[in-house]
Structures are given as C-alpha cells and as structure tokens.
Subunit: 412 residues, 2 copies
Amino acid sequence: MRLSQNFTHTLREAPADEVSRNAQLLIRAGFVYKVMAGVYAYTPLGLRVVENLKQIVREEMNAIGGQELIMTNLQAKEPWEETTRWSDEVVDIWFKTKLQDGTDLGLAWSHEEAILAMMRQYVQSYKDLPIKVYQFQTKLRNELRAKAGIMRGREFLMKDMYSLHSSAEDLDAFYNQSIEAYKRCYERFGIGDETFVTFASGGAFTKFSHEFQTICDAGEDILYVHRGKNIAVNEEVLDEAVKELGISKDELEKVKSAEVGNIFNFGTEKCDQMNLRFTDKDGTEKSIYLGSYGIGITRVMGVIVEKFADDKGIVWPEHIAPAKVYMVQIGQESKAVADALYDELMGKGIEVIYDDRDERPGAKFADSELMGIPYRITVSDRLLGDEKFELTPRSTGLAELLTREELLAKLG
Amino acid sequence: MRLSQNFTHTLREAPADEVSRNAQLLIRAGFVYKVMAGVYAYTPLGLRVVENLKQIVREEMNAIGGQELIMTNLQAKEPWEETTRWSDEVVDIWFKTKLQDGTDLGLAWSHEEAILAMMRQYVQSYKDLPIKVYQFQTKLRNELRAKAGIMRGREFLMKDMYSLHSSAEDLDAFYNQSIEAYKRCYERFGIGDETFVTFASGGAFTKFSHEFQTICDAGEDILYVHRGKNIAVNEEVLDEAVKELGISKDELEKVKSAEVGNIFNFGTEKCDQMNLRFTDKDGTEKSIYLGSYGIGITRVMGVIVEKFADDKGIVWPEHIAPAKVYMVQIGQESKAVADALYDELMGKGIEVIYDDRDERPGAKFADSELMGIPYRITVSDRLLGDEKFELTPRSTGLAELLTREELLAKLG
C-alpha cells in the first residue's frame, strides 16, 4: 500500500470521549473509526488485521473439520423462546426491532438457538452426525456501558463454532481437539506464551467451562496462573479448581487477564430444550450433544494492542500486522531505488506500507511507530551513498545498516 | 469437499411458504436455509458462491484504486437527520432499535451518510482527495413484502463503493472507470452478454442514473435493449432517453430484467448537506463531489439461479460455482481410483465435490444436477474396465468418455 493512497491519516489526539487505550491508539493510527461508544468501523489498515486474524482461525477450524457458513443478524423470536433466552430478563443485551407488520425480531448476539433451529432441517439420523460448523459473524450486543474500546463492543466480529454429536465421548474428543486448535490460533496470533487454558465456572453439564485468557493489564478478569502446567484458574472458581486439579494456591501467580476465547460443553440440555434429536442405528430416538466455541476476533485485536503497545504506539506481532514492512523514503535520488524495492518486495508477497508522502522524515518515523509495523526500512540519499539500507524492528527499535542482499535475506 | 462431510442434504421439496424459484432451488440444493421471509443463511455450499462473487468484485474494485474497509450495522441517528433520511416517511425500510438508555439507533440499509460522517475526520485539503472506498456489508431493509427469495431480501450482502472528488471532471472520469469495472464483473460472473448499462431515472445532478440490468424473466423491471449499441433504457425513462440518445424505439427490444448493480452521481448535493468540504490549493473552501456504486452480491446470485436454472436444477457459471467438478463414484474397485483422482484435482487447485456417500448412482446424478456443478465426472467399475472416465458438462448434459490424460487436459 502506498500511504499517499490511504485515506486515513494519523491523528495527534484520539476523540475526547474515548477512554480505552486500545481504541485511542487504533483511532490515532488510522485503524478504526469510532461511530459511537462501542461501535467502530474498520478502515483499510484495520480490516487487514481483522482479515489476518480471520484467516488464521479459518485455517485452524478447517484443519479440525469445521465447515464455514454464515448465519443471519435478523433472528426470529420462536427458537429463542424455546430456551427462555428471548426474555430480556434472561438475556439483558438484546437489541430488538420489528417488521412492518409488528412481528418482533432480535438482532443476533449469539447463534446457538439459530443454529439448532436450522439443524432440525438437516439432522434426523446418526448418519448426519457429527456436524462442526463455524462462522465469522457480526454480533450486536446492547451493552449498558461500552468503555473498553474494541475489547467489548456493542458491534463486534466473532468466530463462533458449534458441534453436534451422537455421544458424550464424541463431543469430548472434538472438544479436546478444539482446545488444541485454539492454542495454535493464539500461538500464530503472537500471544501463545501468555495465553492459558483457564478453568472457569461451568455450565449445565460440566464442572468447569474452559476459557482462554491472555495476561493483560487492561483485562477484566483475575487469573491464577500455573506456568509449569501451562494452565490457569479464573478467580471465580479458584477454591473448587485447586481442589479438583490437585494443585496448591501457592504455586499460582495472580495476574490480570482478558478473555480471548471460550469453549462450552452444553451436554444434551440445549438440543433437548429445542427438541432436536436423532435416530440411532438401533432405531431409537436419542439426545444430541452440543459444544460451542467462540473467539472474539476484534476483541483479540484489542487485547493485542493493549498488551504490546509502548509509549510510541502499537506493536503488531508479525503474522497479524497489516504489513510486514513500513518503508520510509528520504531525499530525491533514492526515490527510484525505493520504488524498485517496493515493487520487488510486493512481488515476493511481502506486504509493504510505502510512505511515499511529501512529509518530514520525523513525521514518517513517528507514524511508522504509531502504526506498529514490524519492520521499518529507511531508503535515503545519504545511506545509498554507502549502498546501505536501514532496517529497524519495531519491537526492539535497534537499527541495522544492511546491503540490499542482506536486507532481502533478512526479510525473506 | 467430500459430500459425506457436508451437513446439508438435498431436499425433494422446498418449504411450502417459499414462492420464489431461486430460493426454492437454493434451499432444495442445500445452498441456503430460510430463517424467515427475506432472511436466508448461507450454508458452506452457498457461502462458496458468495465468496467467489465477492472475490471477483474485490479484484475489480482494487484494480480501479478502491480501498476495502468495513463500516457498521449500528447507525447513529444524527448523520441521517442531516439529509432528512432518518425519517420513516422519507426512507420506509428502516429497521430501528434503541440503546438501553433510550438512544435511537438505525440498522444500516445503506451507508452514504455513515461514510460522509466518517470522512469529516479525514478530509480537509485537496491533498486528501480523491478517495475511493468500498465494503462488503450486510444490509438490513425492512421490506413490506419479501417474496423474491435472495433477489430482494430483508438481510442481504452488498458491495457498496463511494468516491469523493474535488471536481466534477474527476468524478466523471472515475464514474466511467467504474462502469468498465462493473462490466468486467458481470463478464466474469458469466452474465456479461445479457447485462446492459441501462439509462434510468436520474438523481440530483444528472439527467439519468445508470443501472446494470440483466435479462431475466424473474426480474421486476421492463427494459428496452439496443443490442447493437450494447445499451438499454429502463421503461421509466424511455421517451426521454430515446430522444437524448438519438435512437428510435423501433430499434429496441422489450425484455424483462433484474437490476444487478447501480451507480449514482450525487454531484455536490450530499456532501453539501452534510457540511463536508475541502480547502483547495488557492485556500478557498469548495464542495466535494460524491459517487456511489452498488452491486447486490446475494441478489446477483439469485438472478444467476433464475436465469440459468433448468428443470433439473441450478446451472452455475464456472467462475462462481462452489466447485468446478462433481465426482460420482460407483462400485467397489473404482473407489481407490476416485480417491486418487480427487486428491490430484484438489492438489492442482481444481475444486471438487466428491460424492462419496453411500447412495444409489441415480440419486448422486440427480444431486449433481440439482446443485448445478459445471462438470460431472463419473468414476465407475464398469468404465474403468475400459480405462475410461465419463465427463458431463452440466450446461449441455452431453457425456464424453475420456482417458485419464484426456480428462485432466480438459479440466486443466
């Protein structure tokens, strides 16, 4: 991307009403635009990060047999009434609206009921199971307060997967597969070392549910981490969990954390409530086991901003950054060299943000830091006199002078 | 995709309340699921078609300098009040809802006002123009009736692009570029020959607006087509247009058609209403010219189903089909050959739906026709005795017996 073509520009100040650090930085760097509290549009730079996160999750969900589909925002009342979740007393974050004839509609904050209502059309026999489907869906939640930026929005993007099984054992096996798939996602996002499978308060069927929590000062949760065992316990179930897991509280480190995913074993309760059953090989009607598995894509993006940002701005991990390289060009003679280098890197599939604007070098350096692009290349008349390029990783800030060959080798 | 892994299966009957042919076929073939009238979920097969359409449009919009972003479903009232379009009298298809504190919100049926409100943050100077942005967005429209399947939904996917310019000439030039980009989209969708740039009733600024209309019996419009000049006139402006274009009504062919895209020149009216201006080189404040450009992605999908379907089912054009090949395997000995062929084709990037289900051959043939996959390969014990494979294009139904080499050459 040539920065001269990009319509956003960096801002010195975030909007006065924006209190969250992730949104302040993302707005200033030109990744999101604030429509209202908890509602953010994603500009070309921000959308690239979202798409990078989605693609990683897509690959991992496909690898465990997930099939991608897309459900709807508009929700009929009836399926949600079957589980009592239409009620505003039971679910206090519904946005609702009406058709012109007065029919009530809900706007999807989750999709369990919608998925199961659909599955009544497709699931009859044991031959139809298991089913593993997922989507990337815009969810709308009428949060009373929205002060956490894109970490807890009123409109946000979520990957939600649902699995249906003919037995508890089959669900358990897939549930464990999904834990491993989630770990690979966080690893690839660049937060694997600091993200823990966490025991949290359980649901209908199991003693504990599992959350994925990332150590993060801006998080809303308190976590007790066992780094040796690579697990953690949410404060809400601490006493129960240490007993169950046979660990001592002394072994645990208390940290602030943000939830970046959760998986949930519904057992047969939800499908039974919705009257979704299957006929087994022996001709008897049986209950269906349901699991659900969520990753808040835009939430993860917010957590990553909070976690790695420094006083100069955002620091994106390499696999999710909107580009690998930010190229600053200084002077007149070096322009042709920078143009050629841009074409060469892009041709190799290395995404470059080329700062070809008519700006002072200092402003370009500051923008490259605010935007958090992993590597900055400086191409200047002065450096080219020595046939050198400057390469500066965002995370360390330590510049190196390299020949063209050394530069290409480092980035390859 | 191995069909045994796909959760949808074909249905003999569409839901009794579904009156549109496109939705009937798409539901029966397992491409969409009807949530309610005008609201459809897209299953893995359907989502593939949607993504193929999106990717073609994305490439063509990028090629003319479009930048992809994503706006929001939740809309603040204020920007829409500035142009009077918040009013339900002016726009009669709003879905509206409320925050918990009673604040009115709209659900996006279009994004002109939202885009311009955002651009007030980024556009000050002539240096910030032109801007060309687009998105693939779920639009919600509270249609009184919804009887056209996915051709006119209450929830649907649209590509909408907006361009901002410092002069009428610059807008005109981009407007003409976008007409050419749109033509390439329809060409690649497989409906280029029957899609016409159409003169329709104009807006604020120009005598005519431009629609793209595809000849289609299920369409809602009446068109007068000039095949020689490759243009058409919407019935609503027939008298005016023939005069303006210097053609005679006798040269025109009257057909039924469906709108598959529209482009609109707002002149400076919309930006002036919203108080979005720029400072020119000479320091004076000037008005901004706006164009908007829409393609209803799911609508196009519906039109294509209506247009090409025959009595056996859907017929997808090759570039948007969910797979190029539907492979039917019959017998026991040929199984290993079919497995190997599936792996080989997929390895070459040729998408295959492999019907590996335990079903009668007749059911497999019927499903391949209902689903409309461009090429069917039959791998059977009997044919393999002669070292042959059967290849049947969906559009002609004319089977050919080919050797393995001939088959691969045909599909490559």
